[in-house]
Structures are given as C-alpha cells and as structure tokens.
C-alpha cells in the first residue's frame, strides 16, 4: 500500500503538485492519467523517493520514503523513470542482474540467476541476453529496463510511461506482462500512462490529475465517463463500449 499525504512540490514559481493525498491499495494496476504537465510523473517520482517533496509525505508499507533506509526500500519498491539515457555499456543480462543488487549486493546466488533468467524470459529478452544496451532498439532497451525492475522482486512497481518506444505488438505484450505481474505475482503496479484507453483496458484503478491536483480516483469503469475525461483533458471525448471495454474517442 502506498499512502500519499498532502504532498506539494514546486519547481521555481510553478506548483507541480498541490496538496495531493491519495492511497493506492495493495495489488492490481493503478494508472495515473492527465494532460501534459498535470504532475503525474512528479507524483510518481516523489512516491519513489527520486524527487524530494516540499511538503507532505509518502509512506510505502508504513515506511516514510524520505527517511527509510535506501537498501530496505529498494527491496519493497522498484521504479523506472521515463528518461533513461544510459551511457553505460552493459549487456542485457548484466543490466537485469543489477535488479538483484538490493538483495545480494552484487554476489549473485543461484536463486538470483534463476530470477534473472525468469525476468528475461518474461520480456522475451533471451536471444538478446548478451547484446550490449547500445546495440538494441529503443523498444528492446525499454523492455530490458522493465525486466530489471521486475527482477528487483519488489511488491511495488512504479513505471513512468512503460510503453515508451514500444511498437503495437510490444506495447500490448508489455501491458499483458504488467497484468500478469499484478495478477499472478501479486505485485502492486503503478503506471503513468498518456493514453487513456490503455489505462482503461488494463488497469483496475485510475487516478486522474489536472494542474497538480487530484481530480478523481476510483475503479476504472467509474472514471471512464465523458464528463470526467473532459474535465481532465479539456477536450470533448465520447466513450464507447467496445468488446466489454470502455474506449474514449476524442476525434469527434
């Protein structure tokens, strides 16, 4: 469970997060949606202690992320940011294996190796295992990063735009993987997603933000309404039921 209490954050004069309070329950996929600059990524970064909050606090499993020891938190919460410009030349296997660092401190056990293989298999990285990251396409690299975070084995997995650089097939596959992590492995997955229909099709809960404030949160079906989408995105959106899913169509 992730408890966010009155978090505020400003960059200069711009208030990016304005008194946000939110509880993300254990299990399932929660998607943060909103227009550009709504504060989704900042909220995710604050929750993952990558960015310090100006006010308020975030607790993961009851631990304050600002004060909890780094290594302890690294076994509870894994995070991947949107921008991952990495100049380090590691092979895919080496990168994924670093996901075990919080557990084994670099000396991998047989169990660690098994988990590394498993994470690579999940994301179909087996054939790329010994390739260097700079030899991969953007999408392959993105899958490798997510595999590393998965390999970290944390109960909470926070991903900022995990579909970055992925083509249609791999985007669908990634969302299925994340679904599997939530359903089969019981992980709590929190995503920042810019496509509201991806959020609608794959997540259990939606958190809608606008201009640094929380607009609404709740089960996906309840939030996928034309009224709410207009409020969040500032554009008229029709919502259609398609094969049991609610799809927002903004091009009317």
């Amino acid at each position: 469970m992730i408890e966010i209490e009155s978090v505020t954050k400003s960059y200069g004069d711009v208030r990016v997060l304005d008194d946000v309070s939110l509880t993300i329950p254990t299990g399932g996929i929660t998607s943060l949606v909103g227009a550009n600059g709504a504060g989704k990524s900042t909220l995710l970064s604050v929750a993952a202690r990558l960015v310090p909050a100006d006010g308020g606090r975030v607790r993961v499993d009851g631990m304050d992320v600002a004060t909890a020891p780094g290594p302890v938190l690294a076994r509870r919460l894994g995070v991947l940011r949107q921008e991952n410009a990495m100049s380090v030349r590691l092979t895919v296997r080496e990168l994924v294996a670093f996901g075990r660092f919080p557990h084994s401190g670099g000396r991998l056990t047989a169990e660690d190796h098994r988990l590394v293989d498993e994470a690579m298999a999940w994301f179909e990285l087996g054939p790329l295992a010994d390739r260097h990251l700079d030899q991969l396409s953007g999408g392959q690299r993105q899958r490798a990063y997510v595999a590393m975070v998965m390999c970290q084995g944390t109960d909470h997995v926070l991903l900022d735009e995990p579909l970055n650089n992925l083509d249609m097939r791999h985007a669908v596959q990634m969302m299925r993987m994340l679904r599997g992590m939530a359903d089969e492995l019981g992980r709590t997955v929190v995503l920042v997603v810019h496509d509201v229909n991806v959020a609608s099709c794959y997540s259990d809960r939606i958190v809608a933000m606008r201009e640094g404030r929380l607009v609404a949160e709740g089960p996906t079906a309840e939030l996928m309404t034309p009224e709410l989408l207009r409020k969040v995105f500032d554009v008229e959106v029709e919502v259609h039921e398609l094969a049991g899913r609610r799809i927002g169509v903004p091009w009317s």
Partner: protein
C-alpha cells in the same frame, strides 16, 4: 574477453616485467639473478625491482582511477588528466612547499590530495550545474580548468624559483625511483582494492542517479568515495613519479570498448592493462636514446595522444 585471455595477458605482463629488469645501463643479465655479485645485487634491489614495482603500482592504480571517474561523471573522456586533477595536485605541491613547510614527501602528498579532492569536487559540482549535452565538451571544461590551475601553479613557481622542481611532477619519470623513495606508492594498491570492493556500486552510480536510488545505493556517498579514491591515487602517483599523460583516459576506454562497462569484470583487466601500458612506455623511454633516458611522461604523451585522437574520432563517428 574470456578468462583465458585475461590469464594470457597476465602471463605476458609477468614475462615483460621480468624482462624489464634487465634493461638499463648497469650490467645485469637474467643469468646473474641466480648468482649476483654485490654490485649486481645492489642494482637489482635498489633500482630495478623498485622501479618495476613503481611502474606496476602507478600504472594499474591510475588506470583504475580513470575508470572510476569515467563512470561517476558518466563521461568516457573524464579522467584525472582531463578533469584537472593532476594540475590541482601540482598546485598543492607548490603551496605545500612554499607556505606549509611541507618539504617532506608525505606532507606534499597530503596537501596534494586535499587540493585534488577540492578540484575534483569543484569539477563535479560544475558538471551538475552546467547543461552540457556534448560528450566532448565535458572533458574540455576539465582541461580548461586544469589549464587555469596549472597557470596559477606556474606563476607561483616562477615567482618563487620552483620551476626546476615543477618539472618533476609535470613529467612522469621513473628514473629517480630507488628503494626507500617509492614505498608510499604501495598506498595506491589499497585504494585500488577499495575501488574493486565498491565496483558494483560504481557501476550502479554510472547508470545515473535515479537507477542508483532505485537500487538502494547512496548515490552521493558513492560519488564522494570514488572521487576520493581518484584524488588519493593521483596525488600519490604525481608526487612519487610525476604525471603520465593519458594513462587514466586511454586505458579504461580501450578496455571498456572491448569488454563493456560492468566494473567488477572490467576493473581487474583495466589494472593489468594500465600496468602494461606504463611498462611498455617506460621500456621505450629507457631504450630510445640508450644509454640515456627520456621521461616516461613524454613517451606516454605520444603513445596515449595517438590513441586518444583515435578514440575521439571513433566517438564522433558513432555519435553521427
């Protein structure tokens, strides 16, 4: 690169090290080692062996220091020689000599380390505040900084008549290495061992701050420890034998080009290659004008400079 390659390289280095013992003006052949007369034993134990040890220690430690700095600044062209670290040590030596009564080697080293730490810290502080996207601009800033510091050093040395002794640390030279005058160099071995123990942390820090925080690594502390290791090694080497240009830059680049950036794997090979690089340069320095010697810093400058240009051209090509 496989284990056997590393083993082969190690064997070659051991052989070359042994052979290097017999290069010099004093008459000494491999056969004499088994049964040396008094003069030969003196040459061997007061000059040749200490010189070899100094070469291996300085070469391996400087290469590793470069490797660590390259990871922590996330830039392949940052090393003690391109971040101004050696120049800060030089300034420290002059300041120690002039005002702190630091004529002892240990005193110079301590002040040199302090200056190197401040200099490295300043460089990293500067990097975090400048928005530099071009990989080549970052080391240029370092070289610029080094130029300013070295100008200040030269000015002081000129005013106080120290230019002669300045040459000792600007130009690396092993000809002055004698038993009793190089032993502080063993300290760099300790620094190298610490770097190896922290290899994974440096790798993680090299992935960037958010990756490091995610994996529970105390980013700032790791950066500080790495900079301290680089500063300590640079100060000890520069005070003991002088600067060897490009060593900390070219060697880590060549090794990581072949083996990738996983420090735990790469660090031992970097240390070996650094030792081999300096050994080769020193043997060249001893034989080019035999029976006279040229400073190893000069040979290193030429050999390393050519390799550096090649690396730069290669980086440009890859970036396009």
């Amino acid at each position: 690169m496989q284990r056997r390659h590393v083993a082969a390289a190690l064997a070659a280095l051991v052989l070359a090290s042994f052979a290097s013992l017999f290069i010099g003006v004093g008459d000494l052949t491999p056969g004499d080692v088994l049964d040396p007369d008094a003069a030969q034993a003196r040459v061997l134990w007061t000059s040749r062996v200490p010189r070899l040890l100094a070469i291996l220690l300085a070469g391996s430690a400087m290469a590793v220091a470069g490797l660590v700095m390259m990871h922590l600044t996330r830039n392949r062209f940052v090393s003690p020689q391109t971040a101004g670290t050696t120049e800060w040590v030089g300034l420290g030596i002059v300041v120690a000599t002039l005002w702190l009564g630091g004529t002892s080697v240990l005193g110079k080293m301590a002040i040199g380390m302090l200056f190197a730490l401040v200099g490295n810290g300043f460089f990293v502080w500067l990097l975090q505040r400048l928005v530099l996207t071009d990989i080549v601009v970052v080391p240029l800033v370092g070289i610029l900084l080094g130029g300013v510091v070295s100008a200040a050093t030269t000015f002081l040395a000129y005013r106080f008549d120290l230019l002669q002794s300045m040459d000792a640390w600007v130009n690396g030279d092993f000809s002055g290495v004698l038993a009793g005058r190089y032993e502080l160099l063993w300290l760099v071995l300790a620094a190298t061992v610490v770097a190896y123990l922290w290899a994974d942390r440096f790798s993680v820090a090299g992935m960037g701050e958010s990756f490091a925080v995610n994996l529970g690594v105390a980013y700032t502390r790791v950066v500080l420890v790495g900079l301290a290791i680089a500063s300590i090694v640079t100060a000890i080497v520069v005070v003991s034998v002088g600067s060897i240009p490009f060593l900390g830059l070219v060697v880590p680049n060549l090794v990581t080009l072949a083996m990738g950036d996983n420090l735990r794997r790469v660090l031992p090979v970097t240390a070996l290659t650094g030792a081999a690089f300096v050994l080769i340069c020193d043997v060249l320095a001893r034989t080019i004008r035999y029976p006279y010697e040229v400073p190893v810093g000069m040979v290193g400058g030429v050999v390393g400079g050519v390799l550096f240009v090649w690396l730069l051209l290669r980086a440009r090509r890859r970036a396009l």
